[in-house]
């Protein structure tokens, strides 16, 4: 039995797929012909002997989920920080502010709490004064919002 030559699969590829595939593949392969390995190595039997030293509390720990109120205030503080930085650097665009610059600013500029408080209403400040946020909640919040850091790195 022979297949009809005019039958097609129905599959298609993005426009110019094969042209760009060829270019990228050839470009990569020519570089790999020059150098293809990083040159890094590990101590002998590093992976065989590797043990992850979990802190005693980490294994048994059940992380508390952030409640909505805590999330709201942490988001507010983060937003206030960004606003403060934006208004403190009038000549800069937000996308030009690097994570490093923000870190240096926070380290060296000695931001006062009343500067941050200026972005919140008195009711919000009253609520904030009774708010209790544990270290684990803060850690979880930062972890779950790691994309913030990625955006700043860009």
């Amino acid at each position: 039995m022979t297949l009809k030559s005019d039958i097609t699969s129905g599959f298609k590829v993005p426009k110019a797929y094969f042209e760009s595939f060829d270019t990228d593949f050839i470009l990569e392969q020519t570089l790999k012909q020059t150098v293809s390995e990083s040159g890094f190595k590990t101590p002998d039997t590093y992976f065989e002997k590797l043990e992850i030293r979990l802190p005693k509390t980490a294994n048994a720990r059940t992380l508390q989920q952030l409640n909505k109120k805590t999330t709201f205030y942490l988001s507010g503080i983060a937003a206030s920080l960004v606003l403060l930085l934006v208004f403190s650097w009038p000549s800069e665009n937000l996308e030009n502010i690097t994570a490093e610059a923000i870190e240096n600013y926070l380290i060296y500029e000695e931001i006062q709490s009343d500067e941050l408080a200026g972005f919140l209403t008195s009711d919000e400040l009253d609520d904030l004064s009774t708010l209790s946020i544990s270290a684990s909640e803060i850690e979880t919040y930062i972890f779950e919002n790691a994309a913030l850091e990625s955006l700043l790195i860009d």
């Binding site: 990569e28 150098v35 990083s38 040159g39 890094f40 190595k41 992850i52 979880t140 790691a146 850091e149």
Partner: protein
């Protein structure tokens, strides 16, 4: 080999999580180590970051919603841990990230855990010339052959942007190697 769904289910159960964690470490320790190593350069620093990465994974496994693959979620944690580590180190020494990377490359020549020849050392220097995110993209694709689809989840960037960035990175590196 156990699949991700099984490991994940076991990790979330008190009865099985210890064994599941060991399995997870066995499965991913080498891949995560090499990913981290290419970012932080030194073996000792990589070991520290790898430890922290697994600790973060086990602490936050309950927050993993399954929106992405477990493997890409872990890579994302490893990437963030490595970058946070470098930022902290630079801040501690009161130098820029660029200078920190420069110093790491200078130390690399005398590093007992680097066995690269002249061209491999040049390659590391060429990679260091790229912007941080482009370095990540280059390393993940060139050395680890991570698919753009997975990389897209790890770096939260579109596949199109990743392809374009990788293409530019390879061209820059070729150019650096031929000029130096």
């Amino acid at each position: 080999m156990q699949n991700e769904a099984t490991i994940l289910r076991q990790l979330k159960s008190d009865d099985t999580k210890e064994l599941a964690f060991k399995t997870l470490v066995e499965l991913y320790k080498e891949r995560l180590y090499w990913h981290i190593r290419k970012i932080v350069i030194s073996h000792d620093d990589s070991d520290d970051v790898l430890q922290n990465t697994f600790i973060k994974i086990v602490r936050n496994i309950h927050n993993f919603k399954g929106d992405s693959k477990l493997f890409t979620w872990m890579y994302r944690i490893a990437t963030n841990e490595a970058i946070t580590f470098l930022n902290s180190k630079a801040r501690r020494h009161q130098i820029s990230n660029g200078i920190l990377q420069q110093l790491a490359l200078e130390n690399l020549e005398a590093d007992v855990y680097f066995e690269g020849d002249e061209i491999q050392l040049k390659l590391q220097k060429a990679i260091a010339q790229l912007p941080r995110k482009q370095q990540l993209i280059f390393n993940m694709k060139y050395f680890d052959a991570i698919k753009y689809k997975d990389m897209s989840e790890i770096l939260d960037t579109s596949e199109g942007a990743l392809k374009a960035s990788y293409h530019i990175a390879v061209k820059k590196i070729k150019s650096y190697l031929s000029d130096n």
